[in-house]
């Protein structure tokens, strides 16, 4: 294995980890407020399509990402209303979102482009190095500069999240809502409000994670392009022990698996490429199996919060 292979692999890992970071943070914010959300796959799908369409229409991938976030928020408001106000089961409703949102995305795509459409492509977001006009073969420079602004945003969000939950008053209150909503309520924390805010954050981040796929990663939209990342993000949150830093490491690991499978496919070695494609999924299963029983998630996660509970 050459240095070239390894450096390319590492660069690709960082790129592949980015959508996972967005999605995992989305899940983290949701679960920290006591909402287990298995519908991220769906949110990412709609974010991905809307991001694609808007960047196609406006020519601006940035606007695409923004629109993707908005779309994620809008769809997630359905989840919010059903699980927070109607106390629907979160798992079941997450599943409903997983069915609804991709169907909506596929429908909008068909309507917009017509039935027998040709492949439509958009221009991808520029790397910082391109914007700055710096080209270099130095690995470190590439790692630092050959990235889209979304990558920097992802890392900034991780740092922000770690500080928010550990150092701020608001973050402490937020965590209390996920741990013990009734206790939070007796202290005057607006539990319902925090949960809705969590859904806005979650929708926005998941939408951005989806939009990343069509504005920074691949220049076209296909149904199913999220490819299970919404679920891998769930595993990453468990693996990362519900903390910003832990989630980052978990995403880098899964990103590495993804990058590895792409690199290995190129090498092929006479093995059917599908076996390489399985790597991220099998890695997820193996990681979950190894973590075992230890439960460290927010205590109130998954349970509905009824105000006048008798």
């Amino acid at each position: 294995m050459s240095w070239d292979f390894i450096s390319n692999l590492l660069l690709a890992s960082v790129r592949m980890a980015t959508p996972l970071i967005f999605l995992s943070l989305a899940e983290l914010y949701s679960q920290r407020a006591g909402l287990v959300h298995i519908g991220l796959e769906g949110l990412a799908a709609i974010g991905s399509l809307v991001g694609f369409l808007v960047s196609l229409i406006t020519g601006s991938p940035m606007l695409g990402v923004l629109a993707g976030a908005l779309a994620g928020i809008l769809v997630n408001m359905i989840f919010a209303y059903a699980t927070i106000s109607l106390c629907a089961e979160q798992i079941v409703y997450g599943m409903a979102i997983n069915i609804f949102a991709p169907a909506l995305a596929a429908f909008i795509y068909r309507v917009y482009f017509g039935a027998g459409s040709t492949l439509v492509q958009v221009t991808l977001m520029n790397n910082l190095s391109t914007t700055l006009g710096i080209t270099s073969d130095n690995f470190l420079l590439k790692l630092l500069l050959d990235q889209t602004p979304m990558v920097y945003l992802a890392y900034a969000l991780v740092i922000f999240t770690a500080i928010y939950f550990n150092k701020t008053k608001s973050g402490l209150n937020y965590k209390a809502v996920g741990e013990y909503p009734k206790a939070a309520a007796t202290l005057g924390i607006n539990v319902i409000g925090v949960k809705y805010i969590a859904c806005i954050i979650c929708g926005a981040l998941a939408g951005m994670g989806g939009a990343f796929l069509t504005t920074c990663y691949s220049n076209t939209y296909v149904d199913g392009n999220v490819a299970g990342r919404g679920f891998i993000a769930l595993a990453a949150v468990i693996f990362g022990r519900w903390s910003g830093g832990g989630v980052l490491l978990a995403c880098l690991f899964f990103g590495f698996c993804d990058a590895l499978q792409i690199r290995l496919q190129v090498g092929s070695f006479g093995v059917p490429y599908q076996f390489f494609q399985m790597i991220p999924y099998i890695a997820t299963v193996v990681v979950l199996a190894l973590i075992g029983m230890k439960k460290a998630g927010p205590k109130g996660a998954g349970k509905p919060y009824l105000r006048e509970d008798r």
């Binding site: 150092k167 008053k169 209150n173 741990e179 007796t186 005057g188 607006n190």
Partner: protein, 502 residues
Amino acid sequence: MDAFLRMEHVSKRFGDFYANRDINFSVRRGEVHTLLGENGAGKSTLMNVLIGLYQPTEGTIYLDGKKVRIDSPAQAVKLGIGMVHQHFMLVEAMTVFENIILGDRNTRGIFIDREARTKEIQALSARYGLEVELDKPITEISVGAQQRVEILKALYRGAELLILDEPSAALTDLEVEGLFDIMRKLTGEGKSIIFISHKMREVLRISDRITILRAGRTVCTVDRTETNGEELANLMIGRELAPSHYEKITEPGEPVVSLEKVDYHKESKHNGLCGVSLSVGRREIVGIAGVDGNGQSQLAQVVTGVLTPDAGEVDLKGSRVAQFTPNGFILESVSHIPEDRNKMGLIGDMSVKENIVLKSTDTPQFSSARGFHLKKRAIRDYAEQMREKYDIRCTSVEQEARNLSGGNQQKVILARELEGQPDLLVAVHPTRGLDIGATRFVHDTMIDAREKGCGVLLISADFDEILEVSDRIVVMFEGQVMGVFSGKEPPIQEISLAMAGK
């Protein structure tokens, strides 16, 4: 003296049920005002109205002479009302410090100013003698310390009126003394306290005035100096307390179950067992007395096969238990009334009928072809029979168990657990949350089972209940057996000391 808090004609209705009806109640500055009443008398509901968790259906609340609307807990905090709930409102995953500053609105800034906050908290804790270790996680401190955290939490938010909901329920005697010292300090500084309890001795010691609630209504308010325990008890129950003691048995039959030096998570004081040896004989009720959380739950789960002990031996009807599974114990005719009806005893979404036959659908009585065809008719008829026999009040045996009242849910469990003539009955807090009628029914049923030759292990945090039915009393403290006493003319003083670990 004018009242600091006045509640006038307050009612709270849930559906068709009035939990509070036309309540009048006032608290002065610097007094300890006790709310006395049985379970279900409406104390907790009234307090939840006061702290803004519930909205009153009718009535008005005055604070410092001004009419107030408390429409959220945040509003209650703002008005200076703080409550220490019976089940602590502490976030276990956080430290003492974090729990105290949680939801803080008085300080500026986005970040937590650790140093400044620590100083404030330490000043408060010094002033009222509330010792806590700020950096410890909640899970690592004792129940008494958790309570101090709760009080500090309220004071930190500037509480002028403090509600203590059954604060002594989980404390040892020594800890109760400490609590009373703190309460006196607080009232000395002009704070008002609403004290909720049904322990007569404590109420008489600490209160200035006492308001009695019964069935959701106020009965009256009396001065401590003008009353006595008997009068209060009568007011609380609404009739003379008949000294109806069951006959105690002093010579039980051969042991049904015996434990020899059983350990389970020995190092845990609150959720473990340490060298427990005891036995329950046929025709005998053994009562386990002790403050909640001293290993009783674990004891119950070991003798029903839910937990496997780490060390020691358990003999069931003379033979050693090799494998601990609930099913194995059930096959040996061990019945279990678990501590949490809804979580462990009943399948809430299933009907009364299905819950009654839950354990026995494999028997030929209820299914043919080795369980491959349920005899629905037979199940229904049997359930109807049980409904009659155990006086289960439900619209039909098809009703979902979760929609029954607590007492009727317990009767469903009794019907299931006692009908098969068990050799051993393990009953954990069997009357918790039940009204007097249902409690009496449960006690009668246990005595009845005893008469039929069943050994009964009764675990209860209600000392009166233990005294009422036990033939032998075993006291547990921090996972250990502190002493065994006769149930006939029990030495109450000694037992109380043993419960406090002395």
